[in-house]
Amino acid sequence: MKVISIALNTFRENLRDKLLYNLLIFALLMIGSSLILMRLTLGEFHRLILDIGLGSINFFGVLIAIFVGIGLVSKEIEKKTIYTIVSKPVARFQFLLGKYLGLSLTLLINTAIMAVGLLAVLYVQEVPIHAVLFKALGLIVVEFMVITAVALLFSTFSSATFSAIFTLALYVIGHLTPDLKAFGEKMGGLGKTILEGMYYVLPNLDRFNLKGHVTHQLDVPAGELLVIGLYGIAYSAFLLTVASVIFQRRDFR
């Protein structure tokens, strides 16, 4: 109940963020730009539209997750609005969880709006729509949740600038983890141990990317989808737990 109230208030706060609207408009423009694309060979054309569409949704969503995510808690401390929340019967982890869920809700709705834009473009351009597209959108939201958790974790102990840099870096590396492992295999020795360690510790963000499946119309079995989804949720939960431990010890001064 308390967590939900904080989440809804965070959602309301997000809705007032101009950054959110700017990014959303950019995303819709990007997706909409496919409308003026020349028709290439049919297969190429469909692939391109889906590529641009899912790419835009992912890119702009990640930007929101990072740049709204890093301010989620630090702004409350800076503006001292946290004083009256934490002094009420609300545990610090509940506050953190509420903020997190609030931004997650924002991202969910944001993704839904961008998805509607994409579907409209697909419809106009007569691109066939397959179930795997929705599965891909679902996993994109899960990826946003992981990134939000990363941003939140960093922002509990570092400045906004550093949090943004760290989170962006982790986003990039997170998409390269299979390469890390492959690279480690080649290196051998200590390098292998380190890179393999990173492979297991860092979020394997590439798992959430089903763009290839969508463009090639390859379905993903429900079981696999569930495993990936659970992986994302478990990973986020882990990050939030660490964030809570750090946040619990902080002075709000």
């Binding site: 308390k2 609005t81 709000f252 001064r253």
Partner: protein, 321 residues
Amino acid sequence: MNMTREQIVSIAHLSKVFRVGFWGKRVTAVDDLSLEVQQGEIYGFLGPNGAGKTTTIKMLMGLIYPSSGAASLFGRPIGDQAAKAKVGFLPESPYFYDYLTSREFLRFYGHLFGLLGSTLEKRIDELLELVGMTHARDLQLRKFSKGMLQRVGIAQAMINDPELVILDEPMSGLDPIGRKEVRDLILRLKESGKTVMFSSHILHDAELLCDRVAMIMKGKLVACGHVSELIDHGTTQEVEMVVDRLSPEGVEALRPFTLKTMLHGERVVATLASQRHVDDALEVIRSHQAKLVSLLPHKASLEDLFIRKARGVQQVTEVPV
């Protein structure tokens, strides 16, 4: 004296050291502070700017952690959820979510106490009425003046009908009418059996309201106890005496009892160091056949104590409960 009264706030040897700047310079904001607030009293927490009042209150509310020492509310350690449910808190120059209207704001905070539905709505209307903000109930907080914010801040501190209300400078930013209203409100809280602890620079308000006060300077307790007793113990009651036709020998005879003597022709204006000297002084006047014009005790106030303490009287004036 009432030893059976429950201790609502209990602070024992509390200290807070901040580390500031690049080199982590140590700033002791609160220094081995101990005090107790009892059930049903109005407790004033006084001290000059930077004395450590806000720091102490932030430790009580679990916003910052003590460097050493401990504190408890309702006998429970700081941060205990059950204890927090019975507390109302107004931070210093309150900051709130400025995109909410006063009503939405109070509703949100009500939810944090698990209040819901029509009970909550009724409570919100009552509180807005109480702090005189009914006219601004659907106005966003960012359009509020400082005093208006202070008023909704006070309303949010009472949303849960708290047993203990902790207010950090509740009068700041308020006009004289607002100050009077807050004073009345604090008295009404006491009447309904609540405990109030508030910090203030405005000693006059504290003197009017408080059962007991604590005065801190540079993080250290310098005085605490009942207001009237503190004034009696911590200050001396000076008395101003005006005498006509006092001979020069008489003036000399008076001198041991006075702080200063001024001569205006026939008239002598003498300030006696304490009421204890009144009899002696009168004896001098009688024996020198002078005429007493007036005898005026100077009413000491918390302010006198405050200023004496600020000038460096470092020993603690403590009046037992």
